[in-house]
Structure formats: C-alpha cells, structure tokens
Amino acid sequence: MTVKEINNAKSDYDLTQASANGDMTAFELLYERHHRRVYSLCLRMVANATEAEDLSQEVFVQLFRKVGSFRGESAFTTWLHRLTVNHVLMHFRKKRVKLENTTEEGEIGEMQDIIQAVTDRPRFIDRIALDKAIADLPPGYRTVFVLHDVEGFEHEEVAALLGVSVGTSKSQLHKARLRLRDLINKGKPQRGS
C-alpha cells in the first residue's frame, strides 16, 4: 500500500478524530477531500471569489475547532455542508444582506415577458452560463436557488435555515428560476447579429 492508498482508506470519521487530536496531516487530508465543495458552495452563495475564499478559510478554521464534536451520526459531508451553509448565512446577517426578496416587481409584466421570450428556445443550457447567471441573481433569489436546486436542500430545510415560510421559499425559488432563464437567454448571442 502506498501512503496515498493508506490515506484514501481512512474514513472521514477517522480523519476527524485524528484532527481533533491536533493531527494536521489528517486535517489536511480532510481539506483535500472537501475544500472544493466548501469553496464552490461559498462562491455560489456570495458570488464573489475573494469573499468565498475568506468564508472557506473561516469554515475550515471553525471546522478545526469543532471537529471533535463530529460524532459520525450523519455523513461528514452533510455535517460540513451544514456548517458551511450556516456560516455563509451568518455572514449575510452580519452584512445585513436582505434575504427575503419578495420584490414589488409586477407579476403581470413579468408574465408578458415570459410568454414573449419563449419562442425559439435554445436547446442547451450551458453550465458556465448558468453559473454566471446565478452570480447575477439578487442575493435572496440566489440563496434559495443555490440551497434548493444546486445543493439539494428541501424547501422545509431552506425555510428553516433562512427563517422564512415554506411558501416564501417556494415562490423565491420559482422567481429565481424564471430570472435565471431570462439572464441566460439575454446572455446568448442574438440571432442575425
């Protein structure tokens, strides 16, 4: 067995226990395994690379402090995921980012746009375009969309995390998807130009 194989054979739980005892090699391995997920989640939620790096750093420092309290009842990824989401939401609260974005924009006007825009639908949504469009969403829509559609939280969980009703979470998600669709379509090269 190579060192790498031995490392890979260690479960996340083993690594958390070793990290809790101050083993930085184990902690680095945990970092190697999970930092891209943590960073991606932060990046999609805040839509700013510097902020996402700062937040990821804070999450891992906090992880180091708390890692001993991971008891292995849930998957480590789920646990870390929650830690990350909570940390980003705390960051929003400090920055007073308005999450409940039930906007005043006219539903009817929006409907007209939607119906007009559906003609000549492009076949494929490019993931890079989607990623970019997510970054352009207002923070409230973006948070709900990232939590529900990207990260797979249920509406009940999203509502609890954000302190809003399930109905709000659903309507925010719907508006977020409609807005994304607009942003993606606007970002596409116009026909004939």
Binding site: M24, E28, Y31, H35, R36, R37, Y39, S40, L43, R44, T50, A52, E53, D54, S56, Q57, E58, F60, V61, Q62, F64, R65, H91, K94, I108, M111, I114, I115, V118, T119, R121, F124, I125, R127, L130, D131, F145, D149, V150, G152, E154, K170, L173, H174, R177, L178, L180, R181, I184
Partner: protein
C-alpha cells in the same frame, strides 16, 4: 387553465415528484402544456435549469487558501496557550463582538500571520530554554517594530472612533470605554513588568496580545459604522 396560472405553478409542478402538485391540478397543468407551446417551452427551459443546477462543476480555490488556514490555526493555538493569563471576558458587548470576529481581510491576515510567526518563534525559543543574549535582542527589536506598526494602526483607528463616539448609545459607549480601559490597564501593568525584567518573553508576548486585542476591539467597533 390560463398561461398565467400554469406559469405560476410550473416550479411546483417540476418539483412534483415531492408531491407538491397532485390530482386535478396536475392534470390541468399537463393538459395545458400539451396544447400550449409557449408554456411547454418554458417548462423545458426551467427543467433544464433545474437539471443543470445539480451538475454544476466544482470550483477550485487558490492553493494559498490552505496556507492561510494553517496560519490562522497556528495563531489560534498560540492564543489559546496564552489565554491562561487573561481574565475571562465580561459578557455583553464583548461576547457579541467576538462573535463578529472571524472575518479577516487580506491585510489583516498578513498582519496576523506575521504576528503568528513571531509568537511561534518566541514559543520555540522559550521551549528550548535558549537564553542567548543575541536571540533576545534580535527578538526584542522585531517585537518593537511589530509593536510600533500596531500602535500606529491603533492610533489611526482611535482618532476616527473618537470623532463618532459622541453620537453613540450611552450604554454602548460606557461598555466600549470599560473594555478599552481594561486593555489599557493591562498594557500599563505589562509595561511596568517589562521595565523590571526586559528579557521576560512572556511579558513581551502578552504585550503584543494586548495590542492585538485593542486593535481588534477598535476594528470591530469601526465595522459597526455608527
């Protein structure tokens, strides 16, 4: 069923494997989608967004992130080791401020990292019991430089805060003054100890901690933007 009604329910419909839209409503939506190309197109586009969202590629942060994390953990370890000599924080403003703590900007990280390196080297020298005069004087001058940088930053922050202080809530102002006085008193005490025994590295370290604590307090207050 009107387009408007269908559009309104489309997300619920798309998520309906979770039983959000059932029975008659579901049938009505499906009937409408079968006969309305616009709504069907919209449905397909939203479906694509929903599917693509689950398949977004992971992004990779810069390599330096790990170094930053390790540095901060080292700083914390040293701080925790030093806490034995620090009286517990009074509750209230202070605990609230400390909860605001862990957001460092890049220059701050650089500063903290520099401090960490000095503190770690103090610990190492202490541990080895190396009392070589040269080491002490080198370390002392490094600490003086560090102290001066911190002092300059603190003075700048303090001047800015003094200007705004008058408009603060009186309870908050009293709390702030109390915190500040506590740190000032400790600094004075520490300076006295240092005068008595200039080579006491624990005192030097404590002094730096106190400056850092003061800087952090001012910075937290600054962030409040009152």
């Amino acid at each position: 069923m009107e387009c408007k009604t269908v559009i309104f329910s489309l997300s619920d419909y798309l998520d309906s494997q979770h039983g959000l839209v059932e029975g008659i409503e579901k049938r009505n939506i499906e009937d409408h989608l079968a006969s309305c190309p616009s709504c069907r197109h919209l449905q397909l586009e939203l479906m694509e967004i929903k599917t693509a969202a689950r398949e977004l590629p992971l992004r990779t942060p810069p390599r330096a992130l790990w170094t930053r994390i390790v540095n901060e953990i080292e700083v914390e370890k040293v701080a925790v080791a030093a806490i034995g000599t620090v009286e517990p924080d009074p509750p209230g403003l202070w605990s609230w401020l400390t909860s605001l703590r862990y957001t460092f900007s890049l220059p701050q990280i650089a500063g903290v990292a520099a401090l960490a390196i000095i503190l770690v080297s103090i610990t190492v020298i202490n541990f080895r019991g190396n009392t070589n005069e040269m080491d002490f004087s080198r370390l002392q001058s490094a600490l003086i430089r560090e102290e001066m940088t911190k002092k300059a930053e603190i003075d700048r922050k303090m001047a800015a805060i003094e200007e705004r202080k008058a408009s603060w809530d009186p309870a908050f102002r009293a709390d702030f003054d109390r915190q500040l006085n506590r740190i000032e008193d400790s600094i004075k005490q520490c300076r006295k100890n240092l005068e008595a025994s200039p080579n006491d590295l624990n005192q030097v370290q404590r002094m730096l901690d106190l400056y850092e604590e003061k800087r952090q307090l001012l910075e937290d207050v600054e962030r409040l933007k009152w």
